[in-house]
Amino acid sequence: MTQLRADAAPAVAPSSRAARKRRTPKVPYNRREALAGYLFISPWIVGFLVFTAGAMIYSLVISFSHYNLATNTARPAGLDNYAQLFSDPRVATSLANTLFYAVLAVPLEILVALALASLLNQAGRGAGFFRTVYYLPKMTPAVATAAVFFLLLNGNTGAINQFLRIFGIEGPQWLVDPAWIKPSIVMMTLWGVSGTMVIFLAALKNVPRELYEVAELDGAGVWQRFRNITLPMISSAIFFNVIVLSIAAFQVFDQAYLLFWRDQSNASPEASLFYAIYLFQQAFRQFNFGFAAAMAWLLFLIIMVITAIQMKFGNRFVYYEGGRD
């Protein structure tokens, strides 16, 4: 199931929303039609009741209990699991790591994706070819990416440090030095930035060319055109990408797991302990279901708060064609 793709950009033109409302007549529902409708959506209703609503309630219950997997019994724990969120130092560590990663990754992803999309948008006929090339990393499974970067990022023999040595720079021990672990993972994320790029490219293509032509006749320079035309016209795409990438950043798992946490040794550097990793370990290595469920709810809360802040802040600068409703 897809969880990462948030519904974020409230970009429905208000006029069409109003029109849809007007079209809905105040006549009673046709019973046969309503029944057919419910039948068609019934798979989702069942799935929602079991795998979403039911599971959420179940998860909430588990978070207030000590769950014993061997006997399938739960005894009430009160607020113990939630209290442990504050007393367990690794929760704070993993949260700090995740936040650090998100703050580093999301702006870089936006910048790089936007820069690449702008380049592609100016490439004319060659754009299709380059877009294909840039999209290939996005098709590469995260485990394959991590396996390759594991060797590319090796501090002594890795290709990246070898490349830096050409310029007389001795690169860091990427995957060993705690300070460089998160930048390393950001680098892997950036290699697969093309999904975001494609969304920007679609937005850029929607900017009416007339605007640029008029601005150019008025003597606006490249930067002014970007600042006053491009940026406002694609602001809803930026907004959407920031929200989706932030939510994804808070759940970063695959690369970190593959590089640092796949064998259950305790030698893994704490700097690579992301929230989703710690949650997974608590749930499926230690089988502390109660605590892991509490961690999941904290994650949900954090994501909600951050998304809400972004929405509130975003509404101030996002330009909606045709005005806001």
Partner: protein, 324 residues
């Protein structure tokens, strides 16, 4: 802003306007002439230089994006001692790696498992989401708007919240260690795909289905005979997206298959297993060339999928940005 030269400009569309609106009336009307911004006096050379820079930057970035692939291909053909040498041309070609890897690792099983699960996951989610999407798009019923809002709201929910209860459900039903938990939930539709397919259905002319109704087709026949064939493009987008998502899914395989024997792993779980197996710190011999062969073979199906369905992928991703 440079364009392919076929883009029409507002100036060109106005009939009867003097051609030298941009100050270059001496040139004859040429249907392929560059747009207005390239016709400014003195603008042409500047544009050419700029365009050259753009292409140069794009080529440079291509190397950045392609280098890991080239490196991977080379490494997969090297011997144990050379995997780390970063040479893009192996000093000695070990073609045998591609044969021996299947003795070293149950890679064939992993691929078969991953294909099986991905096909089941993709088909089940595409069919169920299509039905649900049609229900939301075509019929009027009480609470429709509210329920569709719920569909969209579920996209905000991090998977971690429901991960444990869903595990317990599958455990209770006796499906741990089977493929079922890796595709079962897909039988009930998935929010993003429902959204995507509904968008598509809303774009179909309603008269089409009303005509079918008058001809006496029931709702199911209408869906099956008319709606489904028409919606094939959006159906393919969903199939491809979910196939990829399932193929890459490491976490679910870790939860449900990791306790079993390596033959039952999926490809991503297998790569994780292989990484540990050859890791010198875990007692391995550092035979990373096998990991690289496996990583390459696991990536190839995705590249093939992209070669086949590139426009569907691009369209699907672009749709994500437009939703809401």
């Amino acid at each position: 802003m440079a364009s392919t030269g076929t883009t029409s400009t507002p100036v060109r569309q106005v009939p009867g306007l003097p051609e030298d609106a941009a100050g270059q009336g001496d040139r004859p009307i040429d249907p392929n002439r560059p747009p207005l911004d390239e016709r400014r006096p003195g603008g042409r050379t500047g544009r050419r230089v700029r365009r050259g820079l753009v292409i140069a930057a794009l080529v440079a970035m291509s190397f950045v994006f392609l280098y890991p692939f080239a490196w991977l291909l080379a490494a997969s053909l090297k011997g144990r001692g050379q995997v780390f040498d970063n040479s893009l041309w192996p000093s000695e070609f070990h073609w045998g790696n591609y044969v021996r890897v299947f003795d070293e690792l149950p890679l064939g099983n992993w691929m078969i498992n991953s294909v099986g699960i991905a096909v089941l996951a993709a088909v089940s989610v595409a069919v169920s989401s299509s039905l649900v999407a049609w229900g939301f798009a075509h019929f009027r019923f009480p609470l429709r708007g509210f329920l569709f809002g719920l569909v969209l709201a579920t996209m905000m929910l991090p998977g971690a919240v429901t991960m444990i209860p869903i595990y317990l459900i599958w455990k209770e039903l006796g499906f741990l260690g089977t493929w079922v938990p890796l595709f079962g939930a897909n039988l009930f539709g998935s929010a993003f795909y429902i959204f995507l397919q509904r968008q598509f259905y809303l774009g179909l002319p309603r008269e089409l289905f009303e005509a079918a109704r008058i001809d006496g087709a029931n709702q199911w026949r209408t869906y099956w005979r008319i709606v489904f064939p028409l919606s094939l493009p959006s159906f393919i987008i969903v199939l491809l997206f979910e196939f990829q998502a399932s193929w890459n899914n490491l976490q679910a395989a870790l939860i449900y298959l990791n306790a079993g024997s390596p033959e039952d792993f999926t490809a991503p779980l297998g790569i994780a297993y292989a990484m540990t197996r050859y890791s010198p710190t875990a007692g391995g011999q550092g035979d990373y060339q096998y990991v690289m062969v496996a990583a390459l073979l696991v990536t190839l199906p995705m590249l093939a999928l992209f070669a086949f369905g590139q426009r569907y992928f691009i369209e699907g991703v672009a749709t994500q940005g437009r939703k809401g």
